[in-house]
């Protein structure tokens, strides 16, 4: 058999004593597109970070064209022809395509003056070779996102990359842009470029990839040729047989009759939310499933008054509400635990206490002044109730772990005593212990009468907490499932993939 271009053998990696990669092997042939799949936390990104020199493996070896190499930083990775195509693109939007491609490597003359002509000519040549229809003098910011990615790839190839790593490359692309990208990938294959393709989108993987490797809990489960494996098998491999005990679903009883506490009718907003309708009943936990880029987070932003609503209606307790700002949403009894807690949820340099009391400042006044004693008491109460691990309430929020930060965001909103809680990816970047705690908190809140909307890409988690699940696909609710009707994660996976 032909020698692989890249082979990683027996790679292991632990963080704080927890094994996140356990003797994983992975190989990539010349001109191959190789999909890397697995749930969140399966170890995909750690494996790729080891390949690009961000992390170093505890055990295992990496071979390029049969030669053992050591990759200690991103420069080493570049030297070994490996290039990561970043999801949040590393291009300067105000510079031209050519300027971006040759950034820091600009052609210069003897006294250091830039040779723009050569730069443009070289870029033109490069783009022509790749058969990409982009003008080298176009400003990046004026081009569509799809072209950014191609520019990024062109940049990598101009640095002699032979192995490209693409992480969810289509998540921000339209259907048409995706098609263009796939054509481009096919051309790259013919030129002998190899691609590691990370994605959750099954249909795309079967369309473009040659082989699939599936990771679960840090172990390699299988590597198969795409022609020889079925979607069912892939899903089974990703899900695995045994789910964590903490993620076991318990049937809850609540009434689905009467007025829903929140009803969204034909909501549209921007390009991602096209036509979304659903009902949330008092005491219910409604799960929202969907792929990244399906419009599920944008839907939440619109409901909470962050993005403008273009069409549709929102009813809270049967009354129509016009929500134009988060303030309106909060007044209507809503609370949002946003997707990105560091950017949207917390003021990192402020204390635990300051963060918790931020939404309720107007409620803890004594005359015109803030009642600090009451504020401290509230903050201390929530630190205890949610088991937030901090030295004291005056500790800077940014110094706590992800799980504890997330609990601060929860505390912040619980302090305001909302009727409806919207949680967008509540356990992202949170360790497993904190994860089960957060799941418990969600259940108990619903039991105490709160109504909850949970958006999550982690299906086990979604299945553990939800009473009902709606599936969002391309800005629409395409399916509604009662939890009772879902007997396995596969069913939900199928629904999410759009089948």
């Amino acid at each position: 058999m032909e020698q692989p271009l890249l082979s990683m053998e027996g790679i292991s990696k632990s963080f704080n004593g927890i094994k996140v990669l356990d003797s994983v092997s992975f190989s990539l042939r010349k001109g191959e597109v190789h999909a890397l799949m697995g749930g969140n936390g399966a170890g995909k990104s750690t494996l790729m970070k080891i390949l690009t020199g961000v992390y170093q493996a505890d055990e295992g070896e990496i071979f390029i064209e049969g030669k053992k190499v050591s990759i200690n930083d991103t420069e080493d990775a570049k030297r070994n022809y490996i290039s990561m195509i970043f999801q949040e693109f590393s291009l300067v939007p105000t510079l031209t395509v050519a300027q971006n491609i040759f950034l820091t490597r600009e052609p210069k003359n003897a006294i250091g003056i830039l040779n723009d002509k050569e730069c443009i000519a070289k870029t033109k040549e490069l783009l022509k070779e790749l058969e990409v229809d982009i003008n080298p003098t176009d400003i990046i910011g004026n081009l569509g996102v799809g072209y950014w990615q191609m520019t990024e790839i062109a940049k990598a190839l101009s640095q002699n990359a032979k192995i490209l790593i693409m992480d969810e490359p289509t998540s921000s692309l339209t259907k048409k842009e995706t098609e263009i990208l796939f054509n481009f990938i096919n051309k790259l294959k013919k030129k002998g470029i190899s691609i590691i393709y990370i994605s959750h989108r099954m249909d795309e993987i079967f369309q473009i990839c040659d082989r699939i490797t599936i990771l679960r809990d840090g172990k390699k489960i299988a590597t198969e040729s795409c022609d020889e494996i079925t979607m069912e098998t892939v899903i089974q491999h990703i899900v695995g047989a045994d789910l964590d005990k903490a993620f076991e679903w318990k049937e809850r009883f609540y009434s689905i009759e009467g007025t829903p506490i929140l009803e969204v009718k034909n909501l549209s907003s921007g390009t991602k939310v096209r036509d979304i309708s659903f009902r949330l009943y008092p005491g219910e936990i409604l799960g929202v499933a969907g792929l990244m880029g399906s419009g599920r987070s944008e839907m939440v932003r619109a409901i909470f008054g962050i993005d403008p609503i273009d069409g549709g209606e929102i009813f809270v307790k049967g009354k129509k509400h016009t929500i134009k700002s988060p303030t309106d949403a909060i007044a209507a009894g809503l609370a949002l635990i946003p997707e990105d807690r560091r950017m949207q949820g917390l003021i990192l340099q402020h204390s635990v206490k300051e963060n918790i009391i931020l939404p309720i400042l107007s409620k803890i006044k004594k005359g015109v002044f803030l009642d600090e004693r009451k504020a401290n008491k509230i903050a201390e109460q929530f630190v205890e109730r949610l088991n937030i691990k901090t030295d004291d309430i005056f500790k800077t929020a940014g110094l706590l772990s992800g799980g504890n930060q997330q609990k601060i965001v929860l505390a912040k909103w619980l302090a305001n005593n909302p009727d409806i809680l919207i949680l967008d990816e509540p356990t992202i970047g949170v360790d497993i212990a904190a994860k089960t705690e957060i799941i418990d908190i969600i259940r108990e809140l619903a039991d105490s009468g709160k109504s909850i909307l949970v958006i999550s890409s982690e299906l086990p988690e979604l299945l553990a907490v939800s009473d009902r699940i709606i599936v969002v696909h391309e800005g629409r609710v395409v399916k509604e499932l009662k939890r009772k009707e879902i007997d396995s994660e596969e069913v939900l996976q199928h629904a999410i993939q759009g089948y």
Binding site: F304, I306, S325, P326, T327, A329, I330, L336, P338, M343, Q344, G345, L346, I347, L348, Q349, H350, E354, I357, L358, P359, L361, S362, K365, V368, F369, L370, E372, V383, E384, R385, L386, N387, I388, K389, T390, D391, D392, K412, E437, D440, I441, E444
Partner: protein
Amino acid sequence: MPSKDIKMNDSFNLQNNLSPAKRLKAFDWRNYIVYIAFVGVIIYFSITLHDEGFLTTSNLLNIARQTAMISIMGVAMTFVISTGEIDLSVGSITALASLTAALALQAGLGLFGGIAAGLGTGLAIGIINGLLITKVAIPSFLVTLGMMGIVKGLAMWITDTAPVPIVHSTFNFLFGSGDIGSIPILLIWTLIITIIGHIILKKTAFGRQTLATGGNEMAAKFSGVKTSKIKFLVFVGSGLMAGFAGMLYAGRMHAGRYTFGEGDELSVIAAVILGGTSLFGGVGTVIGTVIGSLMIGTINNGLIIMGLDVSQQMIVKGLIIILAVAFGRKTLKK
């Protein structure tokens, strides 16, 4: 709730009973750099300039008089910078406000007419700044840079660069020249504004929301803070206090003049940053600002007594500001 009573935060309780030694360790002197530096400067001048009378009451009161306007504008600027914005127009506003107040008094509108004209000028410009920044969404640096020129131009134009004398003795007494007992009225104003500013920033919801807006505007917005309203109000406050400072210049000099407050915006910003307010927003202290302003004033005063000429004063002042801010930084690069 999963509070799991027993397991609950052993560390929490433990840390609450910190030993004095540990408490001392937790003390970060960098937070207090401006106070340390201020005390250092006073001690230094007290020793080296003892015979020249640095430490006399009259000299110290003089420092208070000279720094009053910067301190008062600094209090308002602390709010602006705490939201992550900047106001470059304050120096020009003091000039225009001194003139409008003087003109109103000259026109016989009386004490309250003069006050209304001075404060009104600052208020109006603050409102325009605030609206342009929040409604038209122009960065505050550009809005107030433009406004700095416009207002200065207006101040020169309004009397064709001629100063306007103020003969209203009550106005002059109240806003600059007077002493109550032996305490200069300028010091009293500084104290009043400082206390009010400190209380608003530290003890009210508005203050908290100001810091939240500067700390993470998006998170503040997500939390229901009306960040635009907060920003608008801090610019109105800044304009108003600049107008007030203009009246103090006028009362102190018994005249309105377009040259008043020239370059003050930079002294004010220096005082705020020196005091420990973050130029990027989210962290602010009114007391620190006033100490910063006093420190700059003291250095000025000491250098003058030492007999340094203006050029040397500027160099020393610049060095001290850079050093103080450098030592105060928490993230010193290796």
